[in-house]
Symmetry: C2
Subunit: 459 residues, 2 copies
């Protein structure tokens, strides 16, 4: 019964568990450029807005109802709600809500949504432990560096195999961030990473169900608990990431160790984070942007005979749903995305509501979208031509959509997006205060004031 | 960037998520033979004994200390201790303790230790919900059937790849058992399985650390929470197990769907469960048994010049540690196993204590063991020859060790094993009462009396 695994084990991997643990435990506070620190604030703010915006989604209601069966202690806040629950469950809930609208940040090299697991764990722990805002930002930068570097090493094989890479690397970023916040030493940080390494979360088959946003939530919870366990002396393999039967070799046949060790402490992966202008999968964004540009040029839905859309094959593979039945399905429909872009000039969460998705004019307009595959077009681009009833053809080519690294959301764009998510939950005035608190979190003595501002019943 | 996965996806898998959910939700209570029901009681009793025995191990202390940071409600018992914690954390703790001594049950076809995840989740939920003992046994039989059938389908590829199959199938058995206990319908049971499918736990690299027993504990917790989430309306893919990017195809290239559907409701996998007589990995058992037989034949350590051990290569691959530094390492040392068998005629937890492992006579004796690989010998067998100082050679061949399916532990053996684990924790008299309560659990109106008997401070 002696058997060989399909892929030869790599017995010579560098000791990346130790290397990352040492990095997380010993890197100087704020030991990076102002640009990196500002990107961390943008990441944090975008995450808070997404979490507040989805706080009352039915997924949050169901998850909170399940958590309440455990009669949790009131340790940490569910952003956008009045309830407080134990910090591990708060990490779960905020991780769920921040990803529910598919509106959170994206590390484009790996399509990891890094803040969900890391920020959800770090903020819940920081609230209960009364940690400083500086410590939160440090934990966020370092935690995201860990999960994204591990993602870089395994991408794309790991994702192609079926893993939802946000949840299957996020528990490591969350563990790293929480270990940092707890000021664990290198050895205990390695144990936290090791315990977390046994708990990857999430398969892509869950896309379109509540279990998709559950992935970053569960990863946040697992990472936080791993750090707490390590802090109490719980042990794991010090080679849990890299060993032949450790995490990475078990879940990926591609492991480029150099992606973890190269320029560690010099290049920070949070620099490559991006923020969605549209509340759906990133591959639809160029098409929405193009249709919004058509609208800006004066094209109206009534004028349109046909919309000719040329995109990379991956766009239709991932988001080719022609007749979405509801808002959730519409997030995987480039057809609906085009209709929303042309009709509203935007595609925030509201444009993915069931009501709008099923509106007769929207159904009619998306049926006018004729999509064809052209793999000479990048998956980051879209080529759209509106063929009008009067015979005119209006053409827009989007090379890099708004929200991409080449064409990033401005701070003002991010604030407008935050208001779009939060005003209905907290009111515009309190939302403005919360935005301000997010921009200043790195110098706040504690996170208490910020989390209070994220509650509809602030003191 | 369109890519192909290495292994072609199977788009024609049968709907096993639905099939298993329907089976779990609708199978009649006690709808199996008396032999199956008795085996369920043996499984349950063996699990309780293991959990009580390790209740004060440092792994349990560390895990409980971490859980207490969440200020848990007193919903369910940690077996063998006085603390009560929330039911999800109790599932975690009892899952950890029941596997800490590597002394729990083994489904030999897959080397899954099935009770840890399933019983830990089910009993914690049953205690809080005041469920009947009959419901607990039903949930245990059905939950174990789910995890072991999924294990059968994926074994050995999934295990060879690096997964600790107990934790990476256990969350499904735990979810199934808890869904049954909550009387969820087929649709919600499918959701519970689906949520759990995104949360496999554990890599083999963790063997020899506290994270190994953490795997069944975390799987128990994940399964219980998945059922609670489903009960509150949380959704997952109804094809979460079998879809091309669902759980099974993501974590295993071998998926024999027939193993899941064949004789479902007729053949119960709990029938193939076995119980360890020795507190270590099953592949060492034939060697320990052989050395204990040498001792029974009058061979003493003092007489021995050399012990010639011939075993399958897998035995040395998994347990070839020549110089174990402590009790935990000794569990992965066939050399120590032989020394314990010859010296004590047994190898319970006590014989894997640090003190005994480091005793000079034990160190000396295990250095006399000369192990050679012979793949003509089954991994379930061992060929041992004691070469004595006077030149005599005493030979023992063990085809099937005590505790194997072919040579099972009797009920009396199991009771003796239970006393060996529990007497030091609960005292012999209370242990006898607890054993009696385990044998009668299938007819108990609730599990309250049993869990009270498992506490050192019974009422």
């Amino acid at each position: 019964m002696a058997r060989n695994t399909q892929v030869a084990a790599d017995h010579n991997a560098p000791p990346v568990t130790h290397i990352l643990a040492q990095f997380v435990a010993t890197h100087p506070p704020g030991g990076w450029s102002d640009a990196v620190d500002h990107e961390a604030h943008r990441t944090f703010m975008n995450w808070v807005g997404c979490a507040v915006g989805a706080a009352h989604h039915e997924a949050a209601d169901a998850a909170l109802a399940a958590v309440k069966l455990l009669q949790p202690a009131a340790q940490a806040s569910v952003l956008g709600r009045t309830e407080k629950i134990d910090m591990a469950s708060a990490a779960l809930l905020n991780g769920i809500t921040s990803h529910t609208f598919d509106f959170d940040d994206t590390h484009l090299k790996t399509i990891i949504h890094p803040a969900g697991p890391v920020a959800s764990a770090v903020l819940a722990l920081a609230e209960h432990n009364n940690a400083s805002g500086r410590d939160v930002i440090d934990a966020l930068v370092l935690g995201i560096d860990v999960s994204c570097r591990i993602g870089n090493a395994m991408y794309p094989e790991h994702y192609d195999r079926g893993w939802h890479i946000t949840g299957s690397t996020g528990m490591l970023g969350a563990a790293a961030g929480c270990a940092r916040l707890l000021k664990l030493d290198t050895q205990k940080t390695a144990m936290a990473l090791g315990i977390a390494a046994s708990q990857p979360v999430g398969m892509r088959e869950q896309f379109g169900t509540m279990t998709k946003p559950f992935h970053p939530g569960a990863a946040a919870r697992a990472g936080l608990m791993s750090a707490l366990l390590a802090s109490q002396g719980f042990t794991a393999s010090p080679k849990a990431l890299e060993a032949p039967r450790g995490f990475m070799q078990t879940v990926s046949t591609k492991n480029d160790w150099n992606e973890i060790t190269s320029e560690l402490g010099q290049r920070f992966e949070i620099s490559f984070n991006s923020y969605k202008p549209f509340a759906c999968g990133i591959v639809i964004h160029p098409s929405i942007d193009a249709c919004a540009q058509l609208r800006a040029q004066g094209v109206t839905p009534e004028q349109v005979e046909r919309i000719e859309l040329k995109v990379h094959s991956l766009v239709l593979e991932l988001t080719g749903k022609k007749e979405p039945a509801d808002g959730l399905q519409a997030k995987f429909s480039v057809y609906h995305g085009c209709a929303a872009g042309l009709t509203f000039g935007r595609a925030a969460e509201e444009e993915f509501s069931d009501d709008i998705v099923n509106r007769a004019d929207m159904v009619a307009l998306r049926r006018k979208v004729v999509a064809t595959v052209d793999d000479s077009i990048s998956e980051a681009s879209a080529d759209v031509t509106a063929v009008l009833k009067d015979g005119r053809r209006v053409h827009v080519f989007v090379e890099h959509a708004i929200g991409s690294l080449q064409n990033p959301m401005t701070d003002g764009n991010l604030e407008a997006k935050f208001h779009g998510l939060s005003d209905a939950v907290l009111g515009a005035a309190q939302t403005s205060e919360l935005i301000n608190a997010c921009w200043k979190i790195g110098t706040a003595a504690s996170v208490g004031a910020l989390v209070a501002l994220a509650s509809p019943q602030r003191a």
